[in-house]
Amino acid sequence: MIPTLQSYLLLGSGIFCLGLFAALSRRNAVGLLVGIELMANGVNLNLVAFSRFTGLIDYQVFALFSIALTVAEVVVGLAIVILIFRHHRGIDTDLVSEFEG
């Protein structure tokens, strides 16, 4: 039996929800980024699965855009994390509950 679109979508939403759990429960900023990365990964899997089961290549191109956006987000996110570390000597998200410049 060939795996159906449903199984791929369930797997994708499972990954997304694990990422959501990580993003909600982590206090460390890099852990937060790991969670966001997992969520984006689940979304990409959904897109590629739709590409296969609708026969349209556009979904793959969209997944490519999504991957590039995630990469840009991680790069800027890590730069912000390093900036926060330099300012507060730590990267727990509790430290940045207030911005004072």
């Binding site: 679109l5 990422g19 990580a22 980024l33 490519l64 390093i82």
Partner: protein, 165 residues
Amino acid sequence: MSLMPYAFGGLTAVVLVGSIFAASSQNLVRSVLWLGAALIGTAGLFALLNAPFLAGIQLSLYTGGIITLMLFGVMLTDREHAVTRQNPSLNPLGALLVAGTFFALLASAIMNTELPMHMGDFNGSTQAVGLNLLQEHLLAFEALSFLLLAAMVGAIVLARRRDAE
């Protein structure tokens, strides 16, 4: 074609185990490495879905670039013992409740929706992706390159040491 269910099952196990440990590991370095396992498994699933180009991109960009970058992030920003430091969770029960409820919602939506079932031949080759990318989505492609440039410049400006000048 007959091996496909086994490949799907194995890759699903890799992705799920990687995701679970990435989300729950108390050691941040391990968490990032498990994320790498999950991303590699996803690359395999992409290959299974006739998307070889995306599988390659996933491998080189995510597991090659992002994981390395995140490990650098962990090790640069941890004052004490980076590899053994605990990463206490922030109310994990509430987060579990939210994520579980959302998953139940998504699963019921997936199970009750009429989904496309195109099972025939599908040309997902790099050539097809490239033609579609540079013909129909050329403007978005160019905008994306601009965005990547902006992200690069932004990251450099943010992370630069001001006092080093």
